[in-house]
Structures are given as structure tokens and as C-alpha cells.
């Protein structure tokens, strides 16, 4: 039995404590979070990939096959090819938001967040791990859709570097957005609320499957307030060039960066206030 006397205890406490000298950036911690998230993705690779592949194929059957035969060209591009950038964006948005919001909400839900909160990781490192993993997953899905699409239609990418840049910045931005939703959400219903209610409609009304020119008068003006229009237009520009965009590409770049900055700002605010992560 342990003895209670102080004299008996003293020798145990003798060697001086070596204070750990943690680095200014906890790379192992970020990597641990990132890998943990990615492991979940690869473990369920079948489901993770099957859904977007099947959905994309269906879009091609319906839009490319059934409708595409009647609409032969949109702004000089075959309709089948024309919808590819929009399709990729559509799944980039939903995948990024879903992955990031679920990624941070799940530990809140199961309580395992306690470990993240008690670990020597900064908020920035937490965001890096979760958002990095979410963005990686959605980029992988986006590229898979691109490959699947290449089986159905003739694709050319005029500005591949710009395409990659849009792909990365937009998936990171929407992953940040998803992270914010995941932090804010207190239930699974709330987790689905924003993607269902806002993002999907904005995407469908954002010119994923048509150009804004095709809309009747007033709606064309309304559409210009939809930020998603700018993102999709820019991404489509990187495929087909100036003629296929709804707005000049400079506007698209500006809108993309603005959205990215706003999401970063909100995440920063969450960090400053500790909003809903801690008691």
C-alpha cells in the first residue's frame, strides 16, 4: 500500500523535470488529424467514389444523351462537354462542405473532441488538418468525375494550371465554409440544413448546366448576385476559354478570392471567440 508520509514520497520527485520543448508548429499533430480523416475516406473508398461516379454518369445520360441531342452547342462547345465544369463544381461544393462539416462535427457529437482540445495543437493547426483533408477528398472526387466525363465526351482544357488553381482554392474555401457549419451545428439536421437550403439551389441557379444568357431577362440580372455564378464561370473559362464564361475571368478570380477571404475571416473569428468549441 502506498504510504502517505511526505518523507516517503520525496525521493520519487527528485530528478529535475525536463520541460518539453514543443516546436512552434505541431506538424505531427496536423499530420495525425489529416491522416485520421483520410483513413476514413480510403476505408470507405467504394462509397466515397461510387456516388459521384454514378451521379455523373446519370447526368450524362440525362443531359448529355436525352437533352444534348437537341441542344447541339452552347457557345461553341458541345452540350455534353459544356456541363462538365459545372458538374465538377457541383460535387466540389457538396463534397467539400460535407467532408469538412462532418469531419469536425463528428468528434463534437461523439465527444472525442476532448482530445483535440486538450492537445498542444493550435486552432490554426486543427483547421489545417480538417480542412486540408476535406479539400483533398473533394479534389480527388472532382478529378474522378473529370476522368469519368472524359469517357463520355471530348474534353479539352485550355488553361490546365488555372483549372488546378480554381479547383484547389474553391475546394479549400468550401471546406472552410463546411468547417464553420460543422462548428456551428448542434445537430445532424443543422448539419444538413445549409447545404440543402442554400448551396444546392445556388448551384443549380448558378449556371452549372446552362449559361446565364439563356435565362429570361430579369433572372439574368438576379443571377449576377449569385456568387456561385462567378465561380462556375471561372472554372468553365479554364476549360473552354473566354467565350464559355458568363462573366470576365477577372471577376471570377476576384469572387473566388473574396469568398476564400470571407471564410478565412469567419474561421479566424471563431478562433478569437472560442465560439461553440469550448465551454
Amino acid at each position: 500500500m502506498a504510504d502517505a508520509s511526505g518523507a516517503d514520497r520525496a525521493p520519487l520527485a527528485s530528478p529535475a523535470l525536463d520541460l518539453p520543448r514543443p516546436p512552434a508548429f505541431n506538424a505531427h499533430g496536423v499530420w495525425a488529424i489529416y491522416r485520421f480523416q483520410m483513413a476514413r475516406f480510403f476505408r470507405t473508398l467504394g462509397e466515397s467514389v461510387a456516388t459521384p461516379v454514378i451521379t455523373t454518369s446519370l447526368y450524362f445520360v440525362v443531359f448529355g444523351g436525352a437533352l444534348g441531342s437537341r441542344i447541339d452547342e452552347v457557345q461553341g462547345v458541345g452540350f455534353g462537354a459544356f456541363i462538365v465544369p459545372g458538374l465538377i463544381m457541383l460535387s466540389l461544393f457538396t463534397q467539400s462542405i460535407f467532408n469538412a462539416s462532418f469531419g469536425i462535427y463528428f468528434p463534437k457529437f461523439t465527444g472525442t473532441i476532448y482530445e483535440i482540445l486538450s492537445a498542444p495543437v493550435s486552432f490554426f493547426e486543427i483547421v489545417l488538418g480538417y480542412v486540408g483533408a476535406a479539400a483533398t477528398k473533394s479534389i480527388i472526387v472532382g478529378l474522378i468525375i473529370l476522368i469519368v466525363a472524359a469517357f463520355f465526351v471530348d474534353l479539352r482544357i485550355l488553361h490546365p494550371l488555372w483549372m488546378a488553381a480554381f479547383l484547389v482554392v474553391i475546394s479549400v474555401s468550401f471546406s472552410l465554409f463546411g468547417f464553420i457549419i460543422g462548428v456551428w451545428a448542434q445537430s445532424f439536421e443543422q448539419l444538413n440544413f445549409i447545404p440543402m437550403l442554400i448551396v444546392t439551389p445556388l448551384t443549380f441557379l448558378g449556371g452549372a448546366f446552362y449559361t446565364i444568357d439563356m435565362l429570361p431577362g430579369v433572372w439574368r440580372d438576379v443571377a449576377m448576385f449569385n456568387p456561385v455564378v462567378y465561380l462556375i464561370s471561372g472554372f468553365r473559362w479554364s476549360f473552354f476559354g473566354e467565350s464559355a464564361g458568363d462573366v470576365p475571368v477577372e471577376w471570377s478570380v476576384a469572387a473566388t478570392l473574396a469568398f476564400f477571404a470571407i471564410c478565412l475571416g469567419v474561421v479566424w473569428w471563431i478562433f478569437k471567440t472560442g465560439y461553440r468549441l469550448k465551454n
Binding site: 514520497r9 523535470l17 520541460l19 505531427h28 465527444g111 486538450s118 469550448k278
Partner: protein, 308 residues
Amino acid sequence: MTPIVSIRNLEKTYTGEFQALKDVSLEIERGEIFALLGPNGAGKSTLINAVCGIVTPTSGSVAVAGKDIKADYRITRSLIGLVPQEMHIDMFETVWDVVSFSRGLFGLAPNPSYIEGVLRDLSLLDKRKSKLMELSGGMKRRVLIAKALAHEPQVLFLDEPTAGVDVELRRDMWEMVRRMRERGVTIILTTHYIEEAEEMADRIGVILKGELIVVEEKSALMAKLGRKRLTLQLQDRMEAIPPELSDWALRLDPDGRELDYEFNVHDERTGVPSLLRRMSELGIAFKDLNTTTSSLEDIFVSLVNTKS
């Protein structure tokens, strides 16, 4: 020497109304086993979680190894391992993965042989490839301990490590705690069970309604808490307590079947041996006897009364 944990005037008010901690100050020495004792809702977990960074204190300060837990959180958190009260685990992951994850999260490079050692110590090595949902409750609890040890902490917080755990595992757990202490690890545990605090701790703090009302060396506290009750089941019914036994403060139950005697285990003379001797001289036979410690609530009440 700087205390390994130093808590100063810590207060916590949840959501602007409920005060869970009231002006708690406490110093814990390196290498000791400290038990926080208190009933449900006393604030034990809140106190631990505040030190570990999970709960943000409303006011007051905490230092670990002389470093402030806010300003130097990377150092203090690297030093601390936490086993939470609730079973917070990733059901779909394997034992090996979640324990390795913890090590990485705390900023350490992978060290499979160290993780293996931890799992072996906790008899989890053969389960390393199992998913957590395939484990029993006791095993899951040990996984939580393995996670807390994965980054080689100097201070280990165990929030009710033996709640809902069988006797054997409880013994193992105590054994593990002693081994940790021999390596110089400071251990702070919470418990409802006074026996557990008695078995394990060097010092005991009693917390009640958010106030740390007593902090004492175990032996000193046990003297205060050491009231026990001896119950004798009589062979034959007794009408009244015979005058020969009037030296002892006895109580006879209404049936006349049981005799109760309250005593303090730490008294020089508890009166128990002499009582039993006297009874046998008088030819009063009993079928069975047992002793019980006064309940924790009784003790808390008496502590609060002596305090005020």
C-alpha cells in the same frame, strides 16, 4: 520546488449562471497521487477539464510545471495526459490507430515499440487490430488510458477511472497507477469511493458544490473520516441491552436481532475487542458480524459542519 500543478483562485460559471467552481486554489507536488473526492456534480470534472484546456475558466489561473496553461499551452499540454470520465471513442477505428493518433496529435514522432509497450502494460496488445466497437467496456476504458499515455505524459489525470469497472480491473488499474508513479508521473484522480482514495492516494481533496473544502494528507483525513459501524447479528433475540454493556454506545434494532456499535478506526482504543470479549463472557452469541464505513454523504456532511 515548483509544484507540478498550481491552481489559483479558479472559478467557473457555466453559461452565465451556474457556478461550478468557486475560488479553488490547490497545489500538487510532483510525483504524488492526489485524489479528488466528491459527490455527483461537485465539480471534479470541471476542475480537471479546466486544467487540461477543455473548459475555459471564468477567472483564476493554472500553471503546470510553473508554466501558464494559456500562455504556454504547448508545453503544459505536452506534459498532461487525460483519461476522461465519459467513454469518448471512435467506434470504427482500431486500437492501434487511435493510440497512434494520440501520440501524433501531441506532437511526437511515431514510436511503435513505445505504443506496443503501453498496450502490453494494459493487456491490450492482442486487441491492437480490433475495432473499438468490438471491445468490452473495460477494454475501451483501457484504450482511453493507452491514448492518454501515448505521448509519455508527466502528469496523468484520471477522471473516475474505476467507475463501472469490475473488481479485477479495478485492481489492475490501481496497479497501473502505482507503476506510473514509480516512473515519477504525478497522478490526479477523481472518485466517489472513499475506499479508492484511501487505497491509492497520498493526499486527498474533498470538493463539494464547487468548493474545495478540505485538502489533507490521507492519514490525517482518514482519521477524520474513519468512523465505522460494527453490526452484530445475534444468535438469540435480545429484549434490552444488558447493563454490563453500558460502557459501549450500543444500539439495538427494534427486532432485537442486531446490535450496532459506532467507532473510529483511528482511535487508540476502538472498543471493539473489549466489547466482543465482554459479550462472550456474558454468553451473548452472534451469528455474523460486519463493519461498514459511514457513507460518503455522512462524511461530507460532517466535514461541512466541522468547517463552518
